[in-house]
Symmetry: C2
Subunit: 452 residues, 2 copies
């Protein structure tokens, strides 16, 4: 039986799919952090090149992918979609499980789908330098790779605890030519202020974002770049789902449920939005499922409200599910899912009931990751393993109900840089870290006061 579904290079999508054209309600406005009024394109111009700002607010359904971007996509796209036959056998399920594999990119995750066009538009707009932040390092690596393709200098503010504990991703960024500093750093005002207050802080994504935004805002030649959350990032990632739809056609199938892990929302948007289009149009009715860690349960336990994207309150206010902009999540192994907020698009679609959210503890997630890797051979990233876990539960539930379902999940990256986490799991050193309910109430008090 066929287990691999490949497209030709000529079938790499020629346009991205912009879900803002099809959402039942217009996306909530993004507000200026000073005035509380909707931001204008000019407000964002110090941070982003104009083509990306236009994409951020566009309501055009199909947005052309530049030829130079498709050329680089060709190095690993179209990515393969697999039928997980060996996993189905290991589970003894009657359901069909498919996965789209994004770990084939040079940096090992779906992130270059957006770092490449971001670098391209910056280059075209005359910017010479990009400042960005990274937590676990997936995004920083993707941006370093993109910078090396387009000859842009890349400065990465890497959360200090990751900088110290995960030297390999730092080294990978440097190999591609990026400059990496532990955040908080002495290179920005916000970094220096935080270090003055607490020299031993482990840092957080919120702090690193503050530093990168400040760097970009204060240097003419420099843009800021973000690897998730923003609308243009979600847009670029739709190549995943657009390809997957064609691959499902090759398989003669259509998913009952489409699953992605969700931190800031980029990989879930990528796999989910093109299928969500069918749901909104009413032509199909797939369930779209966001899976997050129970230690950072933004969509499942957070509040849908305006909040900052960073700790120093430098970013615009976005309406999103949030645990509070100063929330510092526990150090779980799925570092890419440790963000206090979420994509405003994902948040609004969740709020409107168009997608579901689930949260799981990391021990159960690693258990499923082990079943997957021993059946399918591929070692998954801990982030992606949240989607695996949900897919396995989905199949088991269908068996219990005597149903056969078609399940599609996004395997957003490989786990070669996460082996110490597997080692911890195999040696019983992993802990499940829950987010206590009382924290939600606390977070509410910390939210900015705006009309939304």
């Amino acid at each position: 039986m066929k287990v691999k579904f490949l497209l030709k290079d000529s079938e790499i999508p020629k346009t991205w799919y912009n879900i803002m054209a099809d959402m039942p309600n217009r996306p909530a406005a993004v507000l200026h952090p000073g005035t509380g009024k909707p931001v204008s394109p000019d407000d964002l111009a110090p941070l982003f090149p104009m083509p990306l700002i236009e994409q951020e607010v566009s309501s055009q359904r199909e947005i052309p992918i530049p030829e130079a971007v498709r050329d680089i996509y060709t190095l690993w796209r179209p990515s393969p979609m697999f039928r997980a036959l060996r996993l189905e056998e290991a589970l003894g399920t009657k359901s069909k499980i498919y996965y789209k594999y994004e770990g084939v990119s040079p940096s090992g995750s779906h992130k270059p789908n957006t770092s490449i066009p971001q670098a391209y538009y910056n280059k075209m707009s005359g910017r010479k330098r990009i400042a960005t932040e990274t937590g676990a390092g997936q995004w920083g690596c993707a941006m370093a790779l993109a910078g090396s393709f387009f000859g842009l200098e890349v400065k990465v503010y890497m959360v200090k605890v990751s900088y110290n504990q995960k030297p390999y991703r730092r080294m990978l960024m440097e190999t591609w030519g990026a400059k990496v500093v532990p955040s908080p750093s002495r290179d920005t005002n916000s970094g220096r202020a935080i270090l003055a207050a607490d020299p031993d802080t482990p840092g957080s994504l919120g702090i690193a974002i503050s530093e990168a935004v400040e760097d970009a805002a204060t240097r003419e030649d420099t843009s800021y770049a973000l690897g998730s959350v923003l609308n243009h990032v979600c847009l670029h990632q739709t190549v995943i789902g657009l390809e997957a739809k064609e691959q499902m056609k090759l398989a003669g199938d259509y998913p009952d449920v489409v699953i992605g892990c969700c931190g800031g929302g980029s990989n879930l948007s990528g796999i989910g939005f093109p299928f969500l289009r069918d749901k909104i149009a009413g032509s199909k009715n797939p369930r779209i499922v966001a899976v997050e860690p129970s230690s950072c349960p933004t969509l499942t336990k957070g509040i849908y409200a305006y909040d900052f994207g960073d700790t120093a309150k430098l970013t615009p206010l976005m309406k999103m599910y949030t645990l509070g902009h100063d929330f510092v999540p526990d150090g779980i192994h799925a570092g890419g899912l440790r963000y206090h907020g979420d994509s405003p698009l994902i948040s609004q679609l969740r709020h409107e009931g168009l997608l579901e959210a689930q949260a799981y503890g990391q021990i159960a997630v690693f258990e499923s990751a082990m079943i997957f890797t021993r059946a399918e051979g591929i070692l998954p990233a801990p982030e992606s393993s949240h989607a695996i876990h949900s897919a396995i539960l989905e199949a088991k539930r269908a068996d219990e109900e005597g149903k056969q379902k078609t399940i599609l999940f996004n395997l957003s990256g490989h786990g070669f840089f996460d082996l110490s986490a597997y080692d911890d799991y195999l040696n019983g050193r992993l802990k499940d870290l829950d987010y206590p309910k009382e924290k939600v109430a606390e977070a509410l008090h910390r939210l900015p006061k705006v009309e939304g």
Copy 2:
């Protein structure tokens, strides 16, 4: 311009190519370490299942690949071949550079091309358990992966210095279910003897082979498995070159030179033998180039003679280029190329002038690896980077001579587990370690006395 050349799943080769059918002279006999007489299949039966022993001595040109093996190959094969256009631009060369990329396998190198059939034949022959050794860990990972696909227990004797310095590959093997011990271990007589003499020994591949061979020889349910050197290993790897020949046809091209790094010889055989067939037949005249580190220059400075494959003299005697079976190479970063001997097939073909050999220092090799990764995006393994370096020199030489050449090299694996080596390179901590000429004369005295 097209940069990626893909085949369909249906174009995965249906047979391996056995160069023993076409060699100008019959392969030199393998000798029994006790008697000095040619070994019989029965001598090898305690170590290997019969189908692999038959492949070891077969003179059949095309050997069918079992359907179950092709099924698993499908998870990553056919592997892509790329035209390195961006590298060509970076070099400003007029030559065309192509590379076959084997880093797409689940364990990240070409090694599963043979671990999968080895596990398959062992399973079919009723063996329950495989004992093997690993140096840097590429082979151990591939065997662990194969064991997990076929439900075989895998025991890996991992060279102690690598076990301690490269925990990630050890963890990867364990994630796929293998048992890994540092070698020398207390689990074998040879391991205990070496530990008694020198408790602090860093171990070597030769010692680890002794332990794995002893383990397999003393347990009925257990086979030994080797990831390089042997004829059946070289045979299985020919899927690389067979695919590459079809991909060169798609590119409308044929290589003037085919390059592979060479430790035990498995990846060079893989890319090279199918092209060597054309050379032997006289239909084409490609140069086949083996590239080794100057610190372990078996083909360029070793002696062509009968020697043991391991330190404890447990293996049969093979006629090969060797630096002496008790040679312990310096700890360079391309751990996969640190073997005192070489494939007898590669050795004989080299001796007969059908392939060339080159040796380079690791600093020059990393320099070329950096040029490659910043141009092409893929981070290469240090082993594979030897082939990159040779390809770059080849292109530069052609430019100097005013020629345009077509160069093909095998990118045998990615470098995600080798980032500390890149870090050492970037921070000026790498050393070039030469193999002093006087050592060759010493090695001569240590060789076993046999007629060859």
